[in-house]
Symmetry: C2
Subunit: 444 residues, 2 copies
């Protein structure tokens, strides 16, 4: 497999930040020295300026402080300044070699035995003491429908006679999403109101959504963009992805059923989309590259949606998990309960195909654009990555350890997404979390 | 009718800028002193900074120059600074009374007999000498489907058995549109490539779009926004609209047919959206407010989508026209030919309803957000506001005066949108133009 591994991926690397290192071979943190995800933060509860940092173990490295202390080689200072900014768009816009040079320099600063250890340590803040903003000024958001398992399960509920439409296996179906309501983990979601119409009701009503759902997705943040009118060749598509985060595509299923034809979902999605604060770079995920293939008998993708290297490294072995904690569980001190566990490798469409397809008509991507994978369901029952699928539209509610049941989400519920990559011979790479609590609908 | 007319609307007002005044009762310009639309410009062919101005007759008033010359009363200087900026978002965010105070002060500067006439004249540039940027940093774009005539005509082509779906009369159907490819009038459109599949073809192909179409729409630019989670009450919705422009929602019909189910149009629209450079404020359109009503027998809108004042002033009597000039016509010096003429008053959904609906689930609008009305077709043959409708999907091409025929657009065609309001006893208000030429698909 053609991999782009360098010394920053070495599984034997350890950091002088002890919390970043595995203990007896078991990861103690999502953020080992092989990860180095980028995010935007400030000390919680202050009005400090937002600024960019990199997560390491239980800490965030304040890049503005690192720069001020003169700890970085001159050749990466420009990239570091962009990584220290209040939005990371300029970092994302850098050519991949410059981003990789910064990654190598940050690894050198944090590695066990680094000469500048003491001065660098002064630039660390405890993750527990910071709050986050969105990692980028997101200008465009596209959301896809990459999992055929999700398409089959949901299609069967929306269109029993016709679950997967003929275009599904030929192009990555998607829609353009709302940007203004994208929020970072920790921001609560308000239950939306909307037009609902039961199949047997004569007319719709405007009332609080009764079928509020999450969708477990991977978010891709675009690095360098392209000029309007000039598609990105699939062979170069991965180089245009800066990194990935967790994405929860909040969905009001009852609003969606009534509104979505013929122009697609709009208000059923636009009230909120949540993403995790840390962007894990594709560079960090390099050891987890894996082959991408179509199921036997399915049509081969058209030439502009396929390239040779995809069969060796077209996918990334990322696992995504959703946990639920009701307010009763929270009050009783019970931990969030795992309700789904799925893999990005079960997606029918690969990241590079989404980029190539999105730009195949000449659409221009911009640094910081967000692309959602779509709900990443797999074939097993526990891999159904939204409640609509998990409970067959609410008909078969899940039962939590304390006996509570959920067909859809209730007010006070907290959903908590996690993601990670793990395998023999490589260091576990974590994504942090994306946590949101459901607030009751606002009273007028 | 409850109107908010003030002295700036007085039909007898004349400007010392002669080209702004009617000649023998006939408008000589789109931009009389009663209009005063805002836009962003610089001297064409220069690298000057973009800045905000107001159109008057054949000129643009450079507001930075007006401010520098101290020509405005102190109480409107803050608003004028925002109107002089490179993007007008901050102007749009101002409360309506402040925007109206600026309008009154600009009217005072430009009115016949104004004391400061000579110093103000030095702040004027010929419109013919400037080029435009987008009037705002557009962060979100929603496109609607407000004309039931369009929905019926197009629905019959896409779904012969089921042209208008049951939700159409209950909620303004729409979709979220791509922001990165919104361009101002004068920027050419490149013919997109995309996946096309003829109904009888066994598999799709990736090739240049063969059914390239325009859509004549009105664009609304949002003024003050709302907080996430807090819907805008329909009684206040119009106050959240800063102004309107012309909008051409470029559409690749063959890409659309294959991609649009189940999540709606995406690549068939995302390659470009064109808008006119001048934003005509709702304040300027006040004399053209008119009643809004549903056809007899249609369901009354739900309470959150209706308010009493709508039956008196819910619509605006705006006419929209599309002209076509082929490259052969251009070479022969033949003027663009009128191919459609329609009215905003034929829309089934009013501006205030779009705003109230969009935010009814808590979605937040931001100053400078763009909302498209959808293709504004009316009931008559000439009011079919896209070629798909006009030619019944290409089956009945239009014939131009030189004998050329068009089912859809050909490379080299220029489409030119115009809009205006006109009636007895009021001054004609024009929208300028939105002009785009079709370039051939890029060769790889």
């Amino acid at each position: 497999m053609q991999q782009r591994l360098d010394k920053t991926h070495d599984a034997h690397l350890r950091s002088w930040v002890e919390s970043a290192n595995p203990v007896a071979g078991v990861a103690a943190s999502d953020f080992p020295i092989q990860n180095l995800p980028h995010g935007v933060f400030r000390r919680a509860g202050t009005q400090e300026a937002w600024r960019g940092g990199v997560a390491i173990g239980d800490y965030v490295m304040d890049l503005a402080a690192v720069l001020a202390a003169g700890l970085l080689p001159a050749m990466v200072e420009d990239a570091a300044r962009k990584a220290a900014a209040a939005t990371l768009n300029d970092l994302m816009a850098l050519p991949a070699p410059q981003r990789r040079a910064l990654r190598a320099a940050l690894s050198d600063l944090l590695v066990e035995g680094a000469v500048q250890r003491e001065r660098t340590a002064r630039c660390l803040l405890l993750l527990a003491d910071v709050e986050h903003a969105l990692p980028a000024r997101i200008e465009n958001f596209s959301d896809y429908y990459s999992s055929i398992h999700h398409a089959i399960n949901v299609g069967a509920l929306f269109r029993p006679d016709n679950p997967v439409l003929p275009n599904y296996r030929w192009l990555p179906v998607g829609y353009t999403g709302r940007v203004s309501s994208i929020r970072v983990s920790g921001v609560d979601v308000t239950r939306p109101k909307g037009q609902l119409k039961a199949p047997d009701a004569p007319t719709p009503t405007y009332e609080p959504c009764k079928r509020l759902d999450y969708e477990v997705e991977l978010g891709m943040l675009i690095g360098t963009g392209n000029a309007l009118g000039t598609p990105i060749d699939i062979r170069e598509a991965d180089e245009h992805v800066f990194g990935v985060c967790l994405l929860n595509d909040w969905s009001a299923r009852d609003i969606q059923t009534w509104e979505y034809q013929p122009l697609g979902p709009m208000l059923s999605k636009s009230f909120m989309t949540s993403i995790s604060p840390w962007v894990v770079t594709l560079d960090a995920l390099e050891p987890y590259r894996t082959g991408f293939a179509r199921p036997d008998g399915d049509p081969a993708p058209l030439p502009h949606l396929w390239c040779e290297t995809m069969s060796e490294r077209g996918s990334i072995d990322i696992r995504l998990q959703m946990y639920l904690q009701t307010s009763r569980m929270r009050e009783a001190g019970e931990a969030p309960h795992l309700i789904s566990d799925s893999r990005f490798t079960d997606a029918y469409w690969a990241m590079a195909q989404l980029v190539a397809h999105q730009t195949s008509n000449g659409t221009n991507l911009c640094p910081g654009d967000l692309m959602g994978s779509g709900t990443l369901s797999g074939p097993e029952p526990l891999s159904r990555a939204c409640l609509l699928e998990m409970t067959q539209g609410g008909k078969n509610p899940i039962t939590l350890p304390n006996g509570e049941q959920r067909g859809f989400l209730a007010d006070g519920d907290t959903v908590l997404m996690r993601g990670y990559c793990q395998k023999e011979g490589a260091v576990r790479i974590g994504f942090g979390e994306c946590r949101t609590t459901v607030l009751p609908v606002m009273q007028p």
